[in-house]
């Protein structure tokens, strides 16, 4: 029985991620996990790559997970859940299990875009019936804010610090969502915790599809972003409204923008509240701001075109 999509009804469901986890105050990741799990009307078994979420939700005897959950290593959440899902299929075929169970792998951008890329690509290609959720906070946050391929252009991280010679990250972000869609998987999407209904709908849709699915969700990190403990939702909303983090889905190869901001805000609205972009506002870095805005505009235009909603 599907739960109606109102916060009131969703609040009556049992929370599957408990309080008592040790994520930082104001972290985006547990908000995302909570929303993903509450969206599901199926029982879930999850795998988790090493990172903030994993390390803070399961320490010693304390686990915040009320679903079966496995952490293996950093780069193999997708390979690990492939194993779990395959055992499920094997036991189901043998008549030893009759329940319908869905499989979700959680990984940060580190364990997904970079070190976890290979095993993610392999799992998607093999067609396992699984959903991979990347909580993208744009750096290897757990080890102290190091640069990943998901780090935004110009951002200051501890391995690409904004210095007098090099002004932060010099590459644009890797477009992982599109790379995943290029695997011809039935569903790939981007979501944001600020737009909870869009996120929940996408998770529901994904879980109803049989096959490999991928969701990339913007996860503000006030430590790494040098922002405030209370602005995770505000920043993820600005990410969407500036089109830095467009909300779209690619279903069977067809792109659909799922949220078009009434008024596309300038990128600097998203950048200004974050200390990691502070140096971009120095006059000598004006060009970088322009480059960054241009890249965002280009991607947004291409999505609108693909979506047929120009």
């Amino acid at each position: 029985m599907a739960t109606p999509l109102t916060l009131k009804e969703l609040s009556k469901k049992e929370g599957l991620l408990t309080s008592g986890h040790r994520m930082c105050a104001g972290c985006g990741a547990p908000i995302i996990v909570k929303m993903v799990l509450m969206a599901s009307d199926y029982p879930i078994v999850a795998a988790n790559a090493t990172g903030c979420l994993e390390v803070s939700t399961c320490i010693s005897d304390y686990t915040a997970w009320k679903i079966p959950w496995i952490h293996n290593a950093f780069e193999n959440a997708a390979a690990t859940i492939s194993g779990v899902e395959t055992m499920y299929r094997s036991l189901k075929k043998q008549g030893k299990i009759d329940k319908e169970i869905k499989f979700i792998a959680f990984g940060g951008d580190g364990g997904t875009y970079d070190i976890g890329f290979q095993s993610l690509s392999g799992a998607m290609e093999r067609g396992h019936d699984m959903l991979y959720v990347c909580y993208d906070n744009g750096a290897y946050m757990n080890t102290g804010i190091q640069r990943s391929s998901a780090t935004p252009f110009g951002a200051d991280t501890t391995t690409c610090p904004a210095g007098s010679v090099i002004p932060g990250k010099t590459q644009q972000r890797k477009n992982l969502t599109k790379i995943m869609a290029a695997h011809d998987i039935p569903y790939a999407a981007q979501a944001s915790p600020s737009h909870w209904m869009d996120l929940v709908k996408k998770v529901k849709k994904a879980l109803d599809i049989k096959g490999p699915k991928f969701m990339n969700i913007l996860s503000p990190c006030n430590r790494g972003w040098r922002s405030r403990t209370d602005d995770a939702i505000m920043l993820s909303r600005l990410g969407v409204e500036t089109c830095y983090w467009p909300l779209y889905e690619i279903e069977d190869g067809a792109t659909k923008v799922t949220f078009k901001p009434k008024e596309k805000k300038p990128l600097v609205d998203f950048l200004k509240p974050q200390g990691r972009f502070k140096h971009l506002f120095a006059p000598e870095n004006e060009n970088m701001l322009k480059q960054f805005q241009a890249a965002v505009d280009k991607e947004w235009a291409s999505l609108l075109k693909a979506s047929g909603t120009e």
Partner: protein, 393 residues
Amino acid sequence: MAKVVAVTGNEAVANALRQVNPDVSSAYPITPATDIMQRFTSFVSNGKVKTEMILVESEHSAMSGCIGASAAGGRVMTATSSQGLALMWEELFIASGTRLPIVMALVNRALSAPLNIHGDHSDGMGARDCGWIQLWSENAQEAYDNTIQAFRIAEHMDVRLPVMVCMDGFIISHSIERMEYLEDEAIKNFVGEFQQTNPLLDLEHPVSYGPLILPDYYMEYRKAHAEVMAQAPKVVLDIAKDFEKISGRKYGLFESYRLDDAEIGIVILNSAAGTTKDAIDLFREKGIKAGLLKPRLYRPFPYEEVGDALKHLKAVCVLDRADAFGGSYGPLFIDIASSLYPYKDKPVLINKIYGLGGRDYLPGHAELVLNELAEILRTGKVKTFKEYIGVRE
């Protein structure tokens, strides 16, 4: 009715795996182990097994998939060699630390660099401290028998550890030998139904695998693991007794060949032991009391039993098919030396490195070693404690 056949080591192991019929296998090809999985997947494609295959994109993912599947709650196996084992190195520790009863066929192959696809023990030796149980096999029959027993050992409730079964790459994996298959039904009954412990797929009792453990507990977990390893030899022997009932073949922690009254002896692993036994027989005919010890259970190493078996000899040469770089002795030598350490009266020990990268080990080499040991017996003098044999100087 046992079936006598002429097959390669790989084919024998593939059939052992077919007869065990695991629930899931997650594997990646690498020479010379590839053939095991090629044969096995043809069983899969033709409905001869119920195994669901995961044809992963790397060995690291192969072991990751095995870990996920085993934690989910079922029987899991894989096969690899050399670089593949090296690539899954971190996962080996995770599999054993998580106490998952995965079985892996390790077709021993040299580690790069230089790149070499032939048989030596550097891969298995490199992984000897990863917390897995290691069984080493002299020939196709032993590889077959060990693979079957490995599942019972791994899944035993006093153990619950992953097991790797080693056999020499190319020398055994690809050579055709006479061996006997046991019947499908006998193997099926021998391994029995898989018993789950804390399976992920049990929704009524959700568990979390892989917590972060801090300095206040890590050492206790390691101690627990060490204690469980210490239980393994007894289990290995119990399972061997059960196996003897269905096969008529006896297995122990190691094989003693003409060792009881020996004065000189060789300690050697895997296929080269077979070659050496012929040389032992030759020397015995000449009236020289030679013997051989061939470890089978290499990890956990049965120090007490091996020490006890060797202590009465006067001179022993340990032959290593892998070197432990840094001027130290070979890995097997280090374990043998440790097993003899407690005794005041113990044999003179020398170490020779042989057969690296598939370099042939011939009867002539064994005779060379035995002659040197006989010389040590006669004169009490050691020429050199460690050297490479069969190498062009």
